[in-house]
C-alpha cells in the first residue's frame, strides 16, 4: 500500500519538472498563483475528480462552469482543505508551496478564501468577534500585531461600504437568521475583510436576485488587483455579465473538457451543456 503511494508521488514530482506549461521550479513557479496537476479525488470511495489540470496566474479571473454533479464544488472543497474529500492523485501548488500538505486554516492564512455555496450559521458568535478573530489570525501569521478595537471597527466600516452590506448584519451572530442574499453578501464582505490572494467563489450567484447579484459582482470587481486571482464557480452565465473572466473552463464528469476565453460562457448560455456532453462522448468513442 505504502509502496504504491510512494511510486505515485515520485511520478508526479517528475511530471511537474518536465511538463512545459508548469515552468521551472522556484522563481518562475511563484509567478503562477495556482497549479493544479492531474488532480484526482473521491468522496466516500466514489471518484469525483478524474484528473484536473489548471493554472491560474496573478490578476486572472477564471470561471469554472459545468452541469450539476460535474465536480465543481468538490474542486472548491479540495482547494479549501475539506477533509471528507480524499485526494488520490495529483498535485496542487499554491505560490510555490504544496497546498495539499497544509491545514485548512493555514491555507486560509496563506490567502486562500472560499466563498461558501451554503454559508454556515454560528449562533452566539457575533460577526464582529468572528471577523476580529479571523483578521487577527491572518495578521499574526504575517507577523503583524493585532488590530486595536478602533482600527478594527474602522476597517469593518470601510469594507461594509465597499460591498454595500447592511450595517446591522455585522452586529448579528454569524449568518444566523440571514436571508439567502444576505448570507452571500456576507461572504463577499468577509472576502473584503481578509483580502485573499486567491478567492474561490462557489456558486455565490445561486439563488440571488439581480440586486444582490450586482452587489456580489461589484465586490469582486472592486477587490480585483494585479496580484490576486479569482476562481468563480457558477452554473449559469448570468454572473459573468458582471464579472468578466479571463478564462472559462467547462468541468464535466470530473474533467476539464473545454477551456477558452469569455466567449465560451456565452456559447454555453445559448446552447446549454448538452453539446459539450456529446462532444465528450464522441471523443471517448473516437
Amino acid at each position: 500500500m505504502g509502496g504504491k503511494n510512494q511510486g505515485k508521488k515520485i511520478k508526479v514530482i517528475e511530471t511537474s519538472r518536465i511538463s512545459p506549461p508548469l515552468g521551472g521550479m522556484g522563481g518562475k513557479n511563484k509567478s503562477i498563483m495556482l497549479i493544479i496537476n492531474n488532480l484526482k479525488a473521491s468522496i466516500g470511495g466514489k471518484s469525483i475528480l478524474k484528473g484536473i489540470t489548471l493554472e491560474v496566474k496573478p490578476g486572472e479571473i477564471h470561471a469554472i462552469m459545468g452541469p450539476n454533479g460535474s465536480g465543481k464544488s468538490t474542486l472548491a472543497a479540495v482547494l479549501a482543505g475539506r477533509e471528507f474529500v480524499e485526494v488520490t492523485e495529483g498535485t496542487v501548488t499554491y505560490l510555490g508551496k504544496n497546498l495539499l500538505d497544509m491545514s485548512a486554516e493555514d491555507r486560509a492564512k496563506e490567502g486562500i478564501f472560499l466563498g461558501f455555496q451554503y454559508p454556515i450559521e454560528i449562533p452566539g458568535v457575533s460577526m464582529v468577534n468572528f471577523m476580529k478573530t479571523a483578521v487577527n489570525e491572518h495578521r499574526k501569521h504575517k507577523g503583524l500585531d493585532p488590530l486595536s478595537a478602533s482600527d478594527f471597527l474602522k476597517l469593518m466600516r470601510d469594507k461594509k461600504e465597499l460591498v454595500e452590506i447592511d450595517s446591522k448584519l455585522a452586529n448579528r451572530s454569524v449568518n444566523e437568521g440571514f436571508s439567502g442574499g444576505e448570507k452571500k453578501k456576507n461572504e463577499i464582505f468577509q472576502m473584503a475583510m481578509l483580502e485573499p490572494r486567491l478567492a474561490i467563489l462557489d456558486e455565490t450567484d445561486s439563488g440571488l436576485d439581480i440586486d444582490a447579484l450586482r452587489v456580489v459582482a461589484n465586490g469582486v470587481n472592486k477587490l480585483k488587483r494585479p496580484d490576486n486571482s479569482f476562481i468563480v464557480i457558477t452554473h449559469y452565465q448570468r454572473l459573468l455579465d458582471y464579472i468578466v473572466p479571463d478564462v472559462v473552463h467547462v468541468l464535466y464528469d470530473g474533467r476539464i473538457v473545454k477551456t477558452a476565453g469569455k466567449e465560451l460562457a456565452l456559447e454555453l448560455e445559448e446552447k446549454g451543456y448538452d453539446w459539450i456532453k456529446k462532444e465528450v462522448e464522441n471523443n471517448v468513442l473516437s
Binding site: 486554516e105 454556515i120 458568535v125 468572528f130 478573530t133 479571523a134
Partner: protein, 489 residues
C-alpha cells in the same frame, strides 16, 4: 461596560493564544506532612473530629444528631447519574496539614503549601496582591490562610475560617448554622453536618458594601480523603457582598468525595452574589478517577427586597450533584441562577436550582447552559415552586443544551409547582450542536479548530460568564476552552 468588554476581548485573545494542551494542569500532588485520622465513619470519628478542633458542646451535639440522622438515610436514587457504590468505611474523614502553628505572617506557612498555592496562581501574600480579592484558602480539611482579614475588620466585616468563627463568634454561628440547610436536609448534607472539618465564614454588617471580592479557594490534596467544608455567609440589612469560590484537586486514579454545604442568609435590602468556578479533577479520558461532587447550596432571601444571585461555571468533577437554590421568603425578594455546566469524556452532571417563592412579588431568573462532549451526560434539574401566598410571583427559566459529538447526552427535568393564580412562570429550552461545518467555516477563515470551539462555546456561555466578576470571567473562559479541548474532530 465598554471598557470591560474590550478588556475581556483582549484577555480572551491572550487566553486563546496561551492555551495549547488540554491536560488537567492542576493535577499535581504536594508532599505536605498531614495529620489524618483512621479511615471510616463512626460516632467515635465524629467525636475525634470535634475534639481535634476543640469544639464547644453544642457543636458536638449538632454533629452527633446529624450523624444519627445520616445513619437512617440512603443515597438519593433520583438523579440521572450512574454513581458507583461509595464505601464510607474506606474514606478518611479528616486530614489537616500537620505543622499548623498560629500563623502570624506568610512566612509561617509551610513552604510546600505555599508552593502549592503559587502553582495554582492563588496569591497568599497581601502585599503582592493587586487584584483586590480577599482569599481564604482551604486545603484538604483546614483553612490555612485568610488574607486581608485586618482590612476587612476595620469595616466590621468578618471573614475567617469556619473554625475560627466557632471560637470567636459562637453566637452568630449558632444562630445561623443549619437555618437554611438543616442537618436533616439530605443524605450528603447530613453527612457534612456530622463530619465537616472547616470552611469559610463571612458576616457583612448592616449597611456595609464589601469593597472587595471575597474568595475561598478549596483544594483536596491527600489521597482517600473526603472533603467536607461548610460555608456560612450572612449579609445583614442593606449590605452587599460578592463572593467567589474556586476548587481543584490532584489527578488520582481513585474517586474522591466532596460533600459541601453553603448557606447564605440575606436580610432586608441585602444583596449577595455567589460565584463558583468548579474545577475539581474530572477523571481521565477513560473515566478513571475524579471527584464526586455532592454539594448542597442554598440561600435564604429572608428580608424584603433582598437578592441572592448564584453564578456557577462547572467544568470539573467526575460526578456533579448540585442545586444552588433560593428561598424567596421576603416580599419583593429576587433569586437568580446562572449556570454553565460542562461534561466531557465520561463526566456526569445533574445540576440545576430550586426557586421557592414564598413572599409576595418575588422574582426569580434561571439561565442554565449545559455543554456535553465526549461521553458526557449533562442534566438540568430545576424546581420552581410558587406557594399560595406568593402573589405576583414571576419566574423566567431558560435551559439551553449544546452538544459536541454524537456520544454525549443532554437532559432537562424542569418541575413547576404553582399554587397561586397570579404567578407568571415561563420556561424556554433549546438544544443545539457544534457541527463539523461550523468548525470548517472557522478554519476556512484562518481560525484553528480549538479556537473555533472556544469562540462558539464562549459565545454560547457569554450570558452567564458576563455575570462573573472579571478576574473569574477570564479564568472561566479559559477553563471552558481547556475542558473541551480535543472534543471535536
Amino acid at each position: 461596560m465598554l471598557l470591560k468588554n474590550n478588556q475581556m476581548e483582549k484577555d480572551q485573545d491572550k487566553i486563546l493564544s496561551d492555551v495549547t494542551t488540554g491536560e488537567y494542569k492542576y493535577g499535581f500532588y504536594s508532599d505536605i506532612e498531614m495529620e489524618r485520622i483512621p479511615k471510616g465513619l463512626s460516632e467515635e470519628v465524629v467525636r475525634i473530629i470535634s475534639a481535634k478542633k476543640n469544639e464547644p458542646e453544642w457543636l458536638l451535639d449538632f454533629r452527633l444528631k446529624a450523624y444519627k440522622h445520616w445513619l437512617t438515610m440512603k443515597m438519593p436514587a433520583w438523579p440521572n447519574l450512574k454513581i458507583p457504590e461509595i464505601d464510607y468505611k474506606e474514606i478518611i474523614f479528616y486530614a489537616a496539614p500537620k505543622a499548623r502553628p498560629v500563623l502570624n505572617s506568610i512566612d509561617d506557612i509551610d513552604p510546600e503549601l505555599r508552593k502549592t498555592f503559587d502553582k495554582l496562581g492563588i496569591p497568599l501574600t497581601e502585599q503582592k496582591h493587586l487584584s483586590g480579592v480577599a482569599v481564604d484558602a482551604v486545603i484538604d480539611s483546614v483553612s490555612v490562610k485568610t488574607t486581608f482579614k485586618e482590612t476587612l475588620a476595620e469595616m466590621g466585616i468578618i471573614f475567617c475560617s469556619f473554625s475560627d468563627a466557632v471560637k470567636e463568634y459562637p453566637e452568630l454561628v449558632k444562630r445561623y448554622m443549619g437555618s437554611v440547610v438543616p442537618y436533616t436536609d439530605n443524605f450528603f448534607a447530613s453527612l457534612n453536618s456530622a463530619v465537616f472539618s472547616d470552611g469559610s465564614f463571612c458576616y457583612i454588617p448592616k449597611g456595609v458594601r464589601c469593597p472587595m471580592e471575597l474568595s475561598t479557594y478549596f483544594r483536596i490534596n491527600s489521597a482517600n480523603t473526603g472533603q467536607f467544608e461548610r460555608t456560612l455567609l450572612i449579609a445583614d440589612e442593606e449590605s452587599y457582598v460578592s463572593y467567589l469560590e474556586g476548587c481543584t484537586a490532584p489527578s488520582r486514579d481513585e474517586n474522591q468525595l466532596h460533600a459541601a454545604i453553603v448557606e447564605i442568609i440575606a436580610e432586608k435590602n441585602a444583596e449577595v452574589k455567589y460565584s463558583t468556578v468548579q474545577n475539581w479533577y474530572p477523571g481521565n479520558k477513560e473515566g478513571l478517577g475524579g471527584v464526586f461532587n455532592f454539594v448542597t447550596k442554598r440561600g435564604m432571601c429572608k428580608g424584603e427586597n433582598s437578592k441572592i444571585s448564584w453564578t456557577q461555571i462547572e467544568t470539573g468533577s467526575a460526578i456533579t450533584w448540585k442545586y444552588p437554590s433560593c428561598i424567596l421568603r421576603g416580599d419583593n425578594s429576587t433569586g437568580e441562577f446562572y449556570s454553565v455546566a460542562v461534561t466531557n469524556n465520561h463526566q456526569q452532571a445533574d445540576t440545576g436550582t430550586k426557586m421557592i417563592h414564598i413572599g409576595k412579588n418575588t422574582k426569580s431568573t434561571i439561565v442554565s447552559k449545559g455543554i456535553s462532549a465526549g461521553h458526557g451526560q449533562n442534566s438540568y434539574r430545576g424546581l420552581v415552586k410558587v406557594l399560595k401566598n406568593a402573589s405576583n410571583a414571576r419566574n423566567f427559566s431558560q435551559c439551553d443544551s449544546l452538544l459536541l459529538g454524537d456520544k454525549c447526552g443532554a437532559h432537562t427535568f424542569p418541575y413547576l409547582e404553582v399554587d397561586n393564580q397570579t404567578a407568571i412562570v415561563e420556561h424556554e429550552a433549546t438544544t443545539s450542536k457544534i457541527g463539523e461545518d461550523q468548525i470548517f467555516y472557522c478554519n476556512q477563515r484562518g481560525i484553528s479548530t480549538e479556537d473555533a470551539i472556544g469562540l462558539i462555546v464562549n459565545g454560547y456561555a457569554r450570558e452567564v460568564i458576563n455575570k462573573l466578576p472579571m478576574e473569574f470571567a477570564v479564568e472561566a473562559q479559559k477553563l471552558l476552552q481547556i475542558s473541551l479541548e480535543g472534543s471535536v474532530g
